[in-house]
């Protein structure tokens, strides 16, 4: 451990010349609470940052080890001002940052302060970061009657380019069953909580790897791929079609699946499996369907409410570790709830990004907004970075095709369910194109048949 720290330290010293601000800041107090109760790992980090340099600091860096950076779904930061009861949280701008000489491929996020931190000033930050695919099942394969044990690997101390004066880390496990955890003194466990620390005065880039081995039977629902298609019809509705490829991301199921055990001894059999999912849909949803490519799936219940609708549904079969299922959920919502006219005359769609399923990770999310035929200049506005693309889709009786705004993002967690906007211009006259086309087609048919009946094509009059 010491050797490793030393290596980090060397790396930091080598990079010191470029990090002008690195040593100007120090973290007075860091408290980290890591919630391991579901397969989405949420870490709440409270930092008290102090500027010990001479120049005002505009931003600070958050560092993550390379094993975490690829599983990092989201980082959010809030600045806390005010005391105790009158705390005001101010969201801060966080964006990934490349540091040319990051030690051991550590990844960084740059947090910009609302106002530059003057010399000697201190600020309290609340940082939330979310990790996916960070619970590694061990044993890798389990039978129907075993419960699922997982490893979680992290560091006992917060990885940071700054000196941390004092820090503690808490791991919250879903049950009291913890097989083992690495001891980095002082460390102790009480009930569902493991506490590391407090550690005093750790150098920048200190690292103390720990492994927690514990029971986690929460549903590891992972959507490998989700394609959501939102089709805007100016005749009054939004049609949303969601194609899911779901898998159970936990320990692989081994050997027999016995229905009689699954049905009669539900509490001990298949405890890590899940057979029901919950999707949170918009409030005024209608025409909901749930099917897969071989037909309707009949096990679902819809509860509509004023704030949200809940669709509780079961896949065709319970999902054990490694089992997969595909399904499609489709629904319709009234247009006036989601489509608005911007002051500049453009229209915009305001809809929720992300996956409607509760507590699921989406490995790859593709969101397609199908604009009505004839709309122009589409642009999407999102609070985070996604890949954007434009496509053309031909639907019912289209001639020029509909513009499709394709938004694609990997590693999506429920925290990504925030509104986004797609702006476009559209002339209402295009709405009449297809009805007019149909009318003229029928008209043409009747006129031709009329003409055919009355025209005598015979050369010789009889």
């Amino acid at each position: 451990m010491a050797a490793r720290n030393w290596i980090f330290a060397v790396a930091v010293f080598l990079s010191l010349s470029t990090f002008s601000s690195a040593q100007d800041l120090q973290i007075v107090n860091a408290e980290r609470r890591i919630d391991l109760s579901s397969h989405i790992v949420k870490a709440f980090l409270t930092l008290k940052v102090e500027n010990i340099g001479k120049d005002p600091a505009a931003d600070m860096l958050l560092a993550f080890p390379p094993t975490q950076i690829k599983n990092l779904a989201m980082v959010q930061a809030l600045a806390v001002t005010g005391k105790k009861k009158k705390k005001i949280y101010l969201p801060l701008d966080v964006k990934p940052s490349e540091q040319p000489d990051a030690p051991n491929d550590a990844g960084y996020f740059l947090v910009s302060f609302a106002t530059p931190l003057g010399p000697g000033e201190a600020v309290t930050l609340e940082v939330l970061y979310i990790l996916t695919h960070s619970l590694e099942p061990f044993p890798v394969e389990i039978t129907q009657s075993e419960s699922q044990l997982v490893y979680y690997r992290d560091s006992a101390v917060v990885l940071s380019p700054y000196r941390i004066k004092q820090q503690t880390t808490f791991f919250k496990t879903p049950s009291t069953r913890v097989e083992s955890f690495t001891s980095v003194e002082p460390a102790n466990r009480a009930g569902k909580e493991i506490k590391y620390g407090a550690y005093e005065d750790r150098a920048p880039y200190s690292y103390a790897p720990v492994i927690v081995h514990f029971e986690n039977n929460s549903p590891f629902a992972v959507v490998e791929e989700l394609v959501r298609e939102i089709e805007i019809s100016h005749w009054g509705s939004l049609q949303i079609t969601e194609n899911y490829r779901l898998t159970h991301g936990g320990a692989r199921h081994k050997g027999v699946f016995s229905r009689v055990e699954y049905q009669s001894r539900r509490s001990i059999s298949g405890s890590s499996s899940f057979n029901a999912l919950l999707a949170v849909l918009p409030p005024r949803v209608n025409s909901v369907y749930y099917r897969d490519n071989i037909g309707n799936i009949s096990t679902s219940h819809l509860r509509t409410g004023f704030k949200k609708s809940e669709l509780e549904f079961e896949p065709r079969y319970p999902l054990f570790g490694g089992w997969k299922a595909t399904f499609i959920i489709g629904y319709r919502v009234p247009l006036e709830d989601y489509l608005f006219e911007a002051p500049d005359g453009r229209r915009y769609l305001n809809f929720t990004f992300g996956c409607p399923l509760v507590e699921t990770i989406v490995n790859k999310l593709t969101l397609k907004v199908v604009l009505p035929e004839g709309s122009k200049d589409p642009s999407a506005v999102l609070p985070f970075a996604v890949n954007q693309d434009l496509q053309v889709k031909y639907s019912y009786l289209d001639i020029v095709g509909r513009t499709v705004v394709v938004l694609q993002k990997d590693n999506v967690v429920p925290t990504h369910n925030v509104p986004f906007q797609v702006y476009y211009t559209f002339k209402p006259i295009y709405m009449l194109a297809e009805p007019l086309m149909l009318v003229s087609a029928f008209f043409f048919v009747f006129v031709t048949s009329l003409a055919y009946v009355h025209i005598d094509l015979n050369i010789v009059k009889k």
Binding site: S258, R259, G295, R316, K324, L397, I399
Partner: protein, 781 residues
């Protein structure tokens, strides 16, 4: 029927009336089409838009392939996902009509940017084609007895339960388009017969080609039409029109039929087609005779007749000899098994258990006639009588058609489908004639009573005669007008000689057939009631009896509708959680569904082309575990799927089908003896069951751990407790059982490492404890 609604003739000019009649019948036809389409949507409304049953899944899969890979790939498609390890050449062994039709519809819709899925197109193909079929019935019946009868027949066909059973939305099977093709071919034949036009003869050959593409039942056409031709010749009704209707059909039709890969040279080699060639020769001889009769004097003709007859006899003898030789040289006598069982109804059950095992190949029961054609069964005789007054070429054809189809439907329940259109045509004719008579008499009686007040007895006859004429013969007039119009378009003007006398005789008969007013009204009401009863029955049959997709079952219980979706549950499980190349063994009933829904390779499927292969699976299912494992392992099988209804009482499960597995297996592998499984002539699974039965794989896979559900192992289908309750599987392991236990999937365990001593020791250790327990209960282990 159009005549009934048309206004009295005096109110408007005849041209207006005719135009009105045409528009009205067009409207009625349109409504009949809508009715035919919508009555078949019960399955979509009550269940869902999904492909039904077994064969439709195969057709659906072929259509998917066609729409994805195009027509050339389709012809060359060798399917390696079925009949493993043999495979099957789909392109060459399938009737492509249905697939190509749906594929074309799909392609056309997508070309104009209507993005319907292949599945949707497949689901709605059958209802669309039943609308076409009812229009074709209209055309056919119109050729026989005028458009009134045509409309009645079309309306009846639109909702005849027998046809509905094969063409509800989702029932994507050959018959769906084939019935349309059948009726349309008959229509074109009659049309050619009535007009003598080569144009229609060519169309007839093309329609016949479409029928050949669509269904193996085309042999019905190619035997029925020659029979009719022969009948016409024998009854002295030969005419050049008959020649034109028949000769081009045989030549062109046979050539075209040979183009279909699945038929190929069968079109000239198998006995099913020989009748048409024989009649082809006969009609030429007859044509020659008539020709010679025309150019020779009667005296010379007598000489010629003797000459021709002697030569003809020689030729016939030679042909018969050749036929006999050909038939004798082929193994089944040149007849395929299914056709043979048509001629000799006991053939299949005697020699081919695999044909007898299909329920739709069984002879129907009397109630099924009432169920499938309902009141039509009573109207048919009336229709036949109507066809004889007067007998024309066309009406003799429909009489022959109904007689033949009644026979065939009596042999095989599936062929009720062929009977249905004939019954509808006959009933349509009967109804229309009856309405004609009753309404005409009412009109006559009313007219008479009105006129008798004026005391103008002289006028009645003159007034009423044209009235009667115009009302009863109106349809024929409309026809005439239509014909005149078509002749304006440059087509030959022709008039059926058979029709004119019929119209006249009808009028003459009308005068004689005047019934009392009250009797007519009562009879009319009774007829309407009969029709209403038919409609109610049809709607009931469509809604309740024939709309279940059979892959999803529902039951109505006190707490609402309960859905049993186990089949799709397990197919979905197979498709997502097994390797793409894994082989799944099951009884052949589930082969098509497994390939289509689970996309896994199967050993046998519903296309029962290889009896030995099916017998192998049957043998494995009826063998003890170890032997079965060896058979399955040699076939590279990884999963075995059985259907078990004992928990919820689903009667058509594998235990009930087990006798066919034993019979078919035993037919090829003699060590499987049916007697070993029978106790008192029954397949029993209770405590009386034979040890062979209790140890066979099917029993074990069905009832594995079943006793743990209720503690007794009570089978709700057989209504008994099972014979052997606690047993272990040594060579198979349960990998999936669906929610209601209807489908159980087992995996073959890998072979144990062959360490002789150790394996034995292990076996002793593990088996001693459990087996000894079981041995106490069941002395035969």
């Amino acid at each position: 029927m159009a005549t009934l609604e048309s206004p009295p003739p005096g109110t408007s000019s005849s041209a207006m009336r005719n135009a009105f009649g045409t528009v009205l019948s067009a409207l009625i036809l349109l409504l009949i089409g809508v009715l035919a389409f919508s009555i078949r949507l019960f399955s979509v409304i009550k269940y869902e838009s999904v492909i039904h049953e077994f064969d439709p899944y195969f057709n659906y899969r072929v259509t998917q392939f066609l729409s994805k890979n195009g027509i050339y790939e389709f012809w060359n498609w060798f399917d390696d996902r079925t009949w493993y390890p043999l495979g099957r050449v789909i392109g060459g062994t399938v009737y492509p009509g249905l697939t190509l039709t749906a594929g074309t519809i799909w392609w056309a819709l997508n070309a104009i940017n209507i993005p319907l899925s292949v599945e949707t197109v497949c689901v709605f193909t059958a209802p669309v084609f039943s609308a076409f079929a009812s229009w074709a019935t209209y055309l056919l019946t119109k050729e026989v007895k005028g458009s009134g009868a045509g409309l009645a027949a079309a309306a009846l066909l639109a909702m005849v339960p027998s046809y509905i059973s094969r063409s509800v939305a989702g029932s994507y099977d050959n018959e769906a388009v084939a019935i349309f093709a059948l009726i349309f071919t008959f229509y074109l034949y009659i049309k050619t017969l009535n007009t003598g036009s080569l144009f229609y003869a060519t169309l007839n050959a093309i329609a016949y080609f479409y029928m050949v593409c669509s269904w193996g039942g085309y042999t019905f056409i190619i035997n029925l039409i020659p029979m009719h031709v022969l009948l016409c010749i024998v009854t002295g009704r030969y005419s050049p029109r008959l020649y034109i209707a028949y000769a081009p059909l045989v030549v062109l039709g046979t050539l075209l039929a040979a183009l279909v890969p699945v038929v190929g040279f069968n079109a000239v080699l198998t006995s099913e087609h020989f009748a048409s060639f024989l009649v082809f020769i006969i009609i030429h001889v007859v044509a020659l005779v008539y020709y010679i009769k025309g150019i020779l004097s009667p005296k010379m003709f007598k000489v010629a007749v003797t000459l021709v007859v002697s030569i003809g006899l020689v030729v016939c003898l030679i042909v018969v000899a050749v036929l006999v030789a050909l038939v004798a040289s082929s193994p089944t006598g040149g007849w395929s098994g299914r056709s043979l069982s048509l001629l000799d109804p006991t053939y299949a059950s005697k020699y081919i258990p695999i044909i007898a095992s299909v329920s739709e190949h069984q002879p129907p029961t009397w109630p099924s006639y009432f169920m499938d054609i309902n009141v039509l069964a009573f109207l048919v005789p009336a229709g036949i009588i109507a066809c004889f007054s007067p007998l024309s070429d066309a009406s003799s054809f429909v009489v022959l058609y109904i007689v033949m189809s009644v026979y065939f439907s009596g042999v095989m329940v599936r062929l009720m489908l062929v009977l249905a259109p004939a019954a509808c045509i006959m009933s349509g004719i009967a109804l229309s004639q009856a309405f004609d008579v009753f309404t005409a008499s009412i009109k006559y009686q009313l007219g008479r009573s009105a006129n008798s007040k004026d005391d103008a007895e002289d006028n009645t006859s003159t007034n009423n005669a044209p009235k009667d004429d115009s009302s009863s013969g109106k349809t024929d007039k409309g026809e005439e007008v239509a014909k005149e119009r078509s002749s304006k378009k440059g087509k030959k003007k022709e008039r059926e000689p058979a029709d004119k006398p019929s119209v006249k005789s009808k009028i003459a008969k009308k005068r004689a057939l005047v019934l009392p007013l009250e009797a007519s009204i009562v009879a009319l009401l009774l007829l309407i009631m009969l029709g209403a009863f038919y409609v109610i029955h049809c709607v009931w049959a469509a809604a309740e009896a024939y709309s279940a997709p059979s892959i999803v079952l529902t039951s109505q219980s006190r707490d609402g509708l309960h859905v049993f979706d186990d089949f799709r549950e397990s197919y979905a499980w197979l498709s997502h959680n097994t390797d793409v190349d894994d082989k799944v063994a099951s009884w052949w009933d589930y082969g098509y569904q497994t390939t289509a829904m689970a996309n896994r390779t199967v050993i046998v499927d519903n296309n029962t082309w290889n009896n030995t292969h099916i017998a192998t699976v049957g043998t494995a299912m009826s063998s003890p575990e170890k032997a079965a494992w060896e058979i399955f392992n040699s076939l590279d099988v990884k999963y075995v799927l059985v259907v078990f209804g004992g928990l919820i009482g689903y009667p058509s499960d594998d235990i009930n089908k087990f006798l066919w597995m034993v019979r078919i297996g035993g037919g090829v592998f003699p060590h499987i003896k049916e007697a070993d499984y029978l106790r008192d002539g029954n397949y029993r699974i209770d405590s009386e069951a034979t040890p062979t039965m209790l140890n066979c794989l099917m029993y074990k896979l069905s009832y594995y751990r079943f006793v743990e559900t209720d503690g007794k192992g009570y089978d709700r289908v057989r209504r008994t407790e099972i014979g052997k309750k606690n047993f272990k599987l040594t060579h198979f392991e349960e990998v999936f059982t669906s929610h209601h236990w209807m489908v159980r999937i087992y995996k073959l365990k890998p072979q144990k490492n062959r360490i002789r001593g150790r394996a034995k020791k292990l076996k002793l250790k593990t088996s001693s404890g459990l087996d000894s327990k079981a041995a106490k209960k069941n002395p035969w282990i």
